[in-house]
């Protein structure tokens, strides 16, 4: 029991310190700026962006794809590791679930930001046509939001009950809220069985739904005739890319949360080692698909494809292309191959590299293709022949990223970042494992 209390002291969510407050404040400022910019965009129309008739999608869409990709981490780490009974996931799943939920919510919001007539959002339901990939998205994103929420919520029930008692007397409102959220959890056998069953069911469903989500996202592009999108490789390519982006985000957040919340004795180097190997696997898979996507077409490229590939590899996008390939993919593999690279410090850097590389990778998927159409770009102002996001687009996009971070921050503020009950149970169940492994 004393052990239990110690765990609670360590793992119970804590009030923001000074750093936490500043961080939240900064996020709020970014979000406020984004809202102002978005209102301006609503009033003036999307002229405020640098999107035009050829570059008709921009960073709103690539940012959307990025969010969808990072949301995959929930199904991968949580569900897959759970079903394969990988024990090392325990202190990481909660954070993965939180990232997943925040990302998929932001994906839903971001796609609306790109719509030029958000006032007609309802038409998506009134006149929905099933053969449009956008309609598939309209179905799959809310489904994934719901599943991610449940996958976060069900395992939280015992922790809520613990927190209710923990805060009793100290903070009655908080205690009351945790009590309500715990749904009268007592930890009885029947409850445990039901909870276990529910979690297993959600974990089981979320895998195909997660894969579908990524695939539909890929089909948004591959259902067009466009050079560089019209590829049968796209579905698998996006899934493996999501694997990388999601794990990158997870590693970054885990590093920071561990530091800030002083969880060093719960999230140990053992876990980082496992995470690192997992990421290497993901990166290698993605690299394989990248070879399929960019290298092999050289042999059979049509004229249009060749122009497109040239622009990527040697031309105006080469900087971003190589950045996302080298910094976002190859360097992380190299760093993580060495044992010294699989420590928290270097891994924070690797995490950032992967996340930033993944973000630009999405940009590289969207923009260059749109600017290499089949017929020449003629009769439009010179500025329409290239694309770089406008100030409005940057402010709004940064705001969406800030909003995702705010959701993550708030959830970590009020939820135990590492499952308390489960950690306690495992301590009882496998007392030696932990002693041996760190």
């Amino acid at each position: 029991m004393k052990n239990h209390q110690g765990l609670l002291e360590d793992l119970a969510p804590r009030k923001f310190g000074k750093r936490g407050k500043i961080w939240t404040g900064i996020l709020l400022i970014f979000i406020a700026a984004g809202i102002v910019a978005y209102i301006d965009q609503l009033i003036k129309g999307q002229v405020v962006t640098n999107m035009r008739d050829y570059a008709l999608w921009g960073i709103y869409i690539s940012n959307f794809v990025f969010f969808v990709a990072t949301s995959f981490v929930g199904s991968v780490t949580v569900a897959v590791l759970r079903l394969t009974k990988n024990k090392w996931r325990t202190p990481l799943v909660r954070i993965a679930e939180i990232i997943s939920l925040a990302s998929i919510i932001m994906a839903g919001i971001t796609i609306v930001l790109d719509m030029a007539r958000p006032d007609r959002l309802l038409n998506l339901f009134l006149y929905a046509r099933l053969q449009s990939p956008i309609t598939w998205d309209v179905i799959i994103i809310p489904t994934y939001i719901a599943l991610s929420f449940l996958l976060l919520y069900f395992p939280l029930l015992p922790d809520f009950a613990l927190l209710k008692n923990y805060h009793k007397g100290k903070n009655s409102t908080l205690s009351k809220w945790y009590g309500r959220l715990s749904l009268k959890w007592t930890g009885s056998k029947a409850q445990k069985a039901l909870q276990e069953k529910s979690i297993r069911l959600v974990a089981f469903i979320i895998i195909p739904v997660g894969i579908l989500l990524q695939t539909i996202d890929a089909w948004l592009f591959s259902t067009t005739y466009r050079v560089g999108w019209d590829s049968t490789n796209m579905g698998a390519y996006f899934i493996s890319g999501a694997f990388v982006a999601g794990l990158g985000a997870l590693i970054t957040v885990v590093c920071i949360v561990r530091k800030v919340r002083k969880l060093e004795s719960y999230i140990t180097e053992y876990h980082f080692d496992k995470l690192a190997k997992f990421l290497v696997l993901a990166c290698l898979t993605y690299l394989y698909f990248n070879v399929n996507e960019y290298l092999i077409p050289i042999f059979t490229a049509t004229v249009e494809e060749e122009i497109h590939l040239n622009a990527l590899v040697f031309g105006e996008y080469s900087l971003l292309f190589w950045f996302s390939q080298i910094v976002g993919l190859i360097l992380p593999i190299i760093i993580l191959i060495f044992e010294a690279g699989r420590r928290p410090g270097p891994m924070l850097v690797v995490g950032f590299m992967v996340v930033i590389g993944s973000w630009w990778k999405r940009y590289i998927i969207v923009t260059p293709t749109l600017l290499s159409p089949f017929l020449p770009i003629e009769g439009v102002p010179e500025s329409w022949q290239s694309y770089f996001p406008s100030l409005h687009e940057w402010i709004i996009t940064v705001a969406t990223l800030a909003m995702a971070l705010l959701i993550i921050t708030l959830l970590i503020r009020y939820l135990p970042a590492v499952p308390i009950q489960r950690t306690a149970d495992e301590k009882v169940m496998y007392p030696t494992e932990k002693d041996l492994e760190p």
Binding site: K44, G45, Q46, V47, T49, M51, R52, D53, Y54, L56, W57, D114, M115, A116, R117, P118, R120, L121, N123, L124, L126, Y127, A128, R129, Q131, S132, P133, I134, T135, V138, L220, T223, T224, Y225, R226, L370, P373, F374, L375, P376, I377, E378, G379, V380, P381, E382, W384
Partner: protein, 326 residues
């Protein structure tokens, strides 16, 4: 007191209901009687009518036996915009041998569709297929594909394909996702990134068009946050006229017609579509994609004009002349 008022209300409701019932019954009765009376008066006169049958024979019948059948007084009311003009299949042929980049088509299209953006609906591309082949001018409209990529991906059925071949946009339903633009392999769609600023025209047109805002009057007015594109001018073909570009071209490059009738015309000559395509080896652009365009091209052989003649009109960075829109 309260009881009373409640009762009063109930009473009132009950009465109201009864009165309503009586009125309805009365109405039915009256109309019955009226129709009887009418029939009686007809019979008493034994009036005969002269009528002409569909094969032209004049016959006489008792007027009492003549019954009026319901007929739409205004055929436009029954007309379904999403179905199109019955029993037609519009098609266009563009003869590259005659084009010298006169740009009258673009001008006329811009003017009649009140294009105020930076991207015209029709463009004339300067084409050269390979380094050693001869350059030529290629006017390009919407292909009104039979398997339109744009229609397939539209999530709300805002852009649609009609039986008469046209692909149109319902700008009042569109959510502005631009997926149709991404999907169109010919990149022909233009978008209203801001308010189109067509000025008073938009209000004038809104009242001039019988149906109000209407996909057949694309661009009149254009709507912010939705795409526009070449519409094959259904507003003129319904009047029995040719599309603006066809009428405007001084060189007779555009032929327009009905595939069912197998005829196309450029305003001067009317030709058999099948024969024209056969004689001049008609083809469609990006045929290999399988979009089944409704626009055919005749290759630039035996040119009637010099390619160089068109160069003076060529402007890579402008397709809408805005000098007269202050």
């Amino acid at each position: 007191m309260r009881d009373n008022s409640l009762k009063a209300r109930r009473n009132f409701l009950g009465k109201g209901f009864k009165i309503g019932l009586v009125t309805i019954l009365g109405g039915i009765g009256l109309s019955k009687i009226a129709s009887r009376l009418n029939a009686n008066s007809n019979k008493s006169e034994e009036y005969k009518m002269d009528l002409m049958t569909t094969d032209g024979v004049i016959i006489q019948v008792n007027a009492s036996e003549v019954q009026e059948i319901e007929q739409p007084t205004n055929p436009d009311i029954k007309y379904n915009v999403r179905e199109g003009i019955p029993n037609r299949k519009f098609v266009m042929v563009i003869d590259l041998a005659k084009c010298k980049n006169a740009l009258n088509c673009v001008e006329s299209c811009n003017k009649h569709h009140f294009v105020t953006g930076d991207n015209a609906w029709i463009k004339v591309h300067k084409m050269q297929d390979s380094k050693d082949s001869a350059p030529y001018w290629m006017p390009r409209t919407c292909m009104h594909c039979d398997k339109p990529a744009c229609v397939t991906v539209c999530p709300v059925d805002a852009t649609f394909k009609r039986r008469d071949g046209l692909v149109l946009i319902d700008n009042e339903r569109c959510i502005g996702c631009r997926f149709c633009m991404a999907a169109c392999p010919y990149s022909i769609r233009v978008f209203n990134w801001s308010d189109p600023e067509q000025g008073e025209m938009s209000e004038v047109m809104m009242h001039a068009v019988p149906e109000g805002l209407h996909p057949e009057y694309a661009g009149m007015p254009s709507i912010k946050g939705t795409p526009d594109k070449c519409d094959f001018c259904p507003h003129t073909i319904r009047k029995g006229e040719l599309p603006h570009c066809v009428k405007a071209c001084p060189n007779g490059v555009f032929y327009f017609g009905d595939q069912y009738e197998d005829t196309v015309t450029n305003g001067e000559e009317t030709l058999r579509l099948g024969k024209l395509l056969e004689d001049k080896a008609g083809y469609r652009i990006l045929e290999e994609l399988g979009t089944e365009p409704r626009v055919y091209y005749l290759p630039p052989v035996n040119r009637l004009v010099d390619f160089e003649d068109g160069l003076e009109n060529y402007d890579k960075y402008q397709s809408v002349d805005k000098s007269d829109i202050e």
